[in-house]
C-alpha cells in the first residue's frame, strides 16, 4: 500500500521524513510560524492581537498559515469548576473558545500556565485529503509526505472536510487548496524544513521517521522517570489497528488529552473508513428505487390494459 500514488523522480534512497513536535519544550515563540511564512512566501493573515481573549492570535492552520503555535491556556486552580465561558462555549465561528477575562481580571482565577503546541500538517500514512482529491493534485512524495501541486489543484474543496485534523484549507482569494509541504523543495536539496531549522528549543525535530520515533519514545520514558506521567506520543508507536490515520508523519508528544490541543482522539481517512459502506448503501437503495419505479409503471400499465 505504501507509496502507491508516489512520484518517483530519481531519489531512490529517499526515506520517510517527518516531524517530532515535543510540546514540553515549546516556548511559544512562533519562530516556526515566521520561518514557514518567510520560506514559503505565504501572505500575512492580518491577525489582531488577543483576538477572542486568547493570546493565540494566529487562531488556526489555514491555506496561508502552515504552522500554527496553538496556545493551550490552563487556569488555576485547575480543580475549581471552570467559569462558563471556558467550560463550554465555543465561539460561533468555530475559531476556538473564549477565556474568562472578567474573572481573570477580578482575580477569581488566574491564568496559570500555557502549554504550547506547534501544529502542522500531520502527513498521515492514510491521508484523508489524498484519498479525496479528484484531480490528483494531492500526491505522496518520495519522502512519503503529502503535498498539493498548485498547478493541478482546481479548488473543488473536497479535501477540506476530508481532513480529520482540519489542516488543509482553500485560499479564499487564490481559489486553490494549500497546506504544509514539509518543505519539499528544501528536502530535495538536503536541507531540513524551515520551521525545524528555526526552532530554538528543538521542540520541532526533523528527520527520518524511523529514527525520530525511537527518539521520541526515549523522551517519553525520560519524562515518565521525571514524574510527568501524563506524557505520551500522539500519532506514533501505536499498534497497527490503533494507529491514528495509519500513523502520522508529523507526530506529537503531549501531556494532556488530545482534545485540549484540538486533536481528535482517533482519526482515519474518511474515504477509506466510510466510502465503501456509504456507496454500497446508496447503490442498494438506488437499485431498489429503479426496480420499484419499473415495477410500479409496469403494474399500472398492465392494470390499465385489463
Amino acid at each position: 500500500m505504501k507509496l502507491d500514488i508516489a512520484i518517483r523522480d530519481g531519489s531512490p534512497e529517499a526515506r520517510r521524513m517527518g516531524f517530532f513536535t515535543d510540546t514540553t519544550v515549546c516556548i511559544g515563540c512562533k519562530a516556526c510560524e515566521v520561518a514557514c511564512k518567510q520560506w514559503n512566501d505565504l501572505p500575512a493573515d492580518g491577525s489582531s492581537f488577543r483576538s477572542g481573549g486568547s493570546y493565540d492570535h494566529t487562531g488556526e492552520l489555514s491555506a496561508s498559515t502552515w504552522r500554527h503555535v496553538r496556545f493551550v491556556e490552563t487556569l488555576s486552580p485547575p480543580e475549581a469548576p471552570l467559569p462558563t465561558p471556558l467550560a463550554g462555549v465555543a465561539r460561533e465561528d468555530g475559531s476556538g473558545f473564549d477565556l474568562p477575562l472578567i474573572e481573570i481580571a477580578a482575580g477569581e482565577v488566574s491564568l496559570d500556565r500555557w502549554v504550547f503546541m506547534s501544529d502542522v500538517c500531520k502527513h498521515c500514512t492514510d491521508a484523508g485529503c489524498l484519498d479525496a482529491c479528484p484531480t490528483g493534485a494531492l500526491i505522496k512524495t518520495e519522502f512519503e509526505t503529502i503535498i498539493v501541486q498548485p498547478d493541478v489543484c482546481n479548488g473543488c474543496g473536497y479535501c477540506i472536510p476530508s481532513c480529520p485534523f482540519g489542516v488543509i484549507d482553500r485560499d479564499p482569494y487564490d481559489g486553490r487548496a494549500a497546506k504544509c509541504t514539509l518543505c519539499y523543495d528544501r528536502l530535495q536539496d538536503g536541507m531540513e524544513p524551515a520551521c525545524a531549522k528555526s526552532c530554538p528549543t528543538d521542540s520541532i525535530q526533523f528527520g527520518p521517521l524511523d529514527e525520530l520515533v525511537p527518539r521520541a519514545q526515549a523522551r517519553v520514558r525520560e519524562l515518565h522517570a521525571r514524574g510527568l506521567d501524563g506524557a505520551y506520543l500522539y500519532g506514533a508507536g501505536d499498534a497497527e489497528q490503533d494507529a491514528i490515520a495509519g500513523g502520522l508523519g508529523a507526530f506529537f508528544l503531549l501531556t494532556e488529552p488530545p482534545e485540549r490541543f484540538g486533536l481528535p482522539a482517533r482519526a482515519s481517512s474518511p474515504a477509506r473508513e466510510h466510502g465503501a459502506v456509504a456507496t454500497a448503501a446508496g447503490l442498494a437503495a438506488a437499485a431498489a428505487g429503479l426496480a420499484g419505479v419499473v415495477a410500479s409503471v409496469l403494474w399500472s400499465h398492465r392494470r390499465a390494459a385489463r
Partner: protein, 398 residues
C-alpha cells in the same frame, strides 16, 4: 485565517505602508498567495551555497545541554533500553495502564468532560451551487429511472418526456459544479485521473458518462433508432443509480460528524429524494404536455413519488433518532428551519395525496421539499463540523 471578505490582508498591509524613500525598497514583505516555493530547482543539479548535506536537528545547541538529553540518548551506536517499549496512546487497549513506569494516562482515562480547544476540523467551503446541483442531479437520476420504466412498459411518449426532463435537469449540473470550483478554468482536471476511492472523482466521471449516454438516447430517439435508444436509455438508468446515490456517499465520506455518522442513511435518503423529485418533475411534464389524468404512467408516477417521499421521511426520522445529540446540528439555526420546512412540505404533500385531492400540489411540494432537504443537509454538515465537541465525541467512542 483569511476569510475572503474585502481585500486580502497582505494587500491591505501593502496599501497602508508609506511609499518607499528614494533609493530604498521598504515595501512590506507580506508574501504572495497560492504558490508554494518552487519545487523544481531553477538549475537542475545546482548546489546550494553553504548547504549541509545531511539532515540534522538542533541538538548541538547549548540550550539542551542540561535540560533535554536528546543528543545523549540518541548517539549512534549507543543502545538504549528506552527504545524497547513503545509508549503511545493505544485506544481501548485493555491493561495498557498496567505498564510499568506509566501510572496513568490522560489519553485513555480522561477525568470528567474534556475541554475541547477547537477548531478540530474545518467546515466545507461549498456554497449554494452544490446543494442545487444535488437536487438537479437527483431529478435527472430519478427521471432516467422513469424513462427506462416507460421503455419497458412500451410507453414511448412518456419515455421521451422523461428523457427530456432528465436532459433538462442534468444540463445545469456541470455549470453549477464548475461555478463552485476555486479555479473554474481548471474544471477539466476532474477528468485527469480515475480514482475509485474518491466519490468526487467517481461522481465527476459518472456525471460525464450519464450526460453522454442520455444525450445519445435522446439523439437515437430523434433519429428513430429503436435498438440504440433502448440500450442507451438502459445504460443511462444504470449510471443514474450511481448519480442519484453518490452525492450522499460523497458527504458521508468526510470527517464531518453528522455526515459520517449517517453514512448508511445519507445515500438511501438522497436516492429517495432523487426518485421522488424525478417522478414529480416527469409527472408535471407529462401533465403539461397533455397526458390525460388517468393515464397509467401518470398514475404510477403519483404512487412512486408518494412512496419515495414517505420512505425519505421515515429514513430521515429514524436517522435523526439514531444520531442522538449529534443530530442537534439538524435542529438548530438555518439548517434546522430548513429541515422543519422540508418535513412539513413533505407531510402536507403526502396528506394531500392520501386525501386524493392533490392535483399537482403534491408534486410541487415534493420538488420543493427535495430542494430544501439538500440545502439543509449541506448546511447542517457545516454546522456539525464547527461543533468541536461533536467532532471530539465522534472521534472518541464511549
Amino acid at each position: 485565517m483569511s476569510r475572503g471578505r474585502g481585500a486580502p490582508a497582505e494587500q491591505r498591509i501593502r496599501d497602508a505602508a508609506p511609499a518607499s524613500p528614494p533609493g530604498r525598497d521598504t515595501a512590506p514583505a507580506v508574501g504572495t498567495r497560492g504558490e508554494a516555493a518552487p519545487w523544481r530547482r531553477a538549475v537542475e543539479g545546482a548546489r546550494v551555497a553553504l548547504v549541509r548535506e545531511a539532515f540534522e536537528d538542533a541538538s548541538w545547541s547549548f540550550l539542551f545541554r542540561g535540560e533535554s538529553r536528546y543528543a545523549a540518548t540518541t548517539k549512534p551506536g549507543r543502545k538504549s533500553s528506552h527504545y524497547e517499549t513503545p509508549v503511545g496512546p493505544v485506544g481501548g487497549g485493555a491493561g495498557h495502564a498496567d505498564e510499568p513506569g506509566r501510572k496513568s494516562s490522560h489519553y485513555e482515562t480522561p477525568v470528567g468532560p474534556v475541554v475541547v480547544a477547537g477548531p478540530v476540523i474545518k467546515a466545507p467551503v461549498w456554497t449554494w451551487e452544490v446543494p442545487l446541483y444535488f437536487w438537479f442531479g437527483g431529478i435527472a437520476a430519478g427521471s432516467s429511472f422513469v424513462a427506462v420504466a416507460c421503455e419497458v412498459a412500451g410507453d414511448q411518449r412518456s419515455a421521451r418526456v422523461a428523457r427530456l426532463v432528465a436532459l433538462g435537469a442534468i444540463a445545469p449540473g456541470a455549470p453549477l459544479l464548475i461555478a463552485d470550483l476555486g479555479r473554474p478554468g481548471r474544471f477539466l482536471n476532474m477528468l485527469r485521473i480515475f480514482k475509485p476511492r474518491s466519490p468526487m472523482s467517481m461522481g465527476a466521471w459518472c456525471l460525464a458518462a450519464f450526460s453522454t449516454t442520455l444525450s445519445g438516447a435522446v439523439g437515437a430517439d430523434l433519429l428513430g433508432r429503436a435498438r440504440e435508444r433502448r440500450a442507451l436509455t438502459g445504460a443511462t438508468a444504470l449510471l443514474g443509480t450511481y448519480l442519484g446515490s453518490y452525492t450522499g456517499a460523497l458527504l458521508a465520506s468526510t470527517a464531518v460528524p453528522l455526515w459520517s455518522r449517517s453514512r448508511s442513511f445519507l445515500g438511501p435518503v438522497f436516492v429517495c429524494t432523487a426518485v421522488a423529485t424525478g417522478a414529480s418533475a416527469t409527472r408535471l411534464a407529462l401533465a403539461a404536455t397533455g397526458t390525460r389524468r388517468d393515464h397509467p404512467t401518470r398514475t404510477a408516477l403519483g404512487a412512486v413519488e408518494t412512496g419515495a417521499m414517505a420512505a425519505e421521511l421515515i429514513l430521515s426520522l429514524v436517522n435523526e433518532r439514531r444520531l442522538g445529540p449529534l443530530g442537534d446540528a439538524m435542529a438548530v439555526g438555518r439548517p434546522g428551519r430548513q429541515f422543519r420546512f422540508a418535513k412539513s412540505a413533505t407531510t402536507a404533500g403526502l396528506a394531500l395525496r392520501l386525501a386524493r385531492r392533490a392535483g399537482h400540489a403534491s408534486s410541487v411540494a415534493f420538488l420543493v421539499s427535495g430542494l430544501v432537504f439538500r440545502y439543509a443537509w449541506v448546511g447542517a454538515g457545516k454546522a456539525s463540523a464547527r461543533d468541536d465537541e461533536a467532532v471530539a465525541r465522534t472521534a472518541r467512542p464511549a
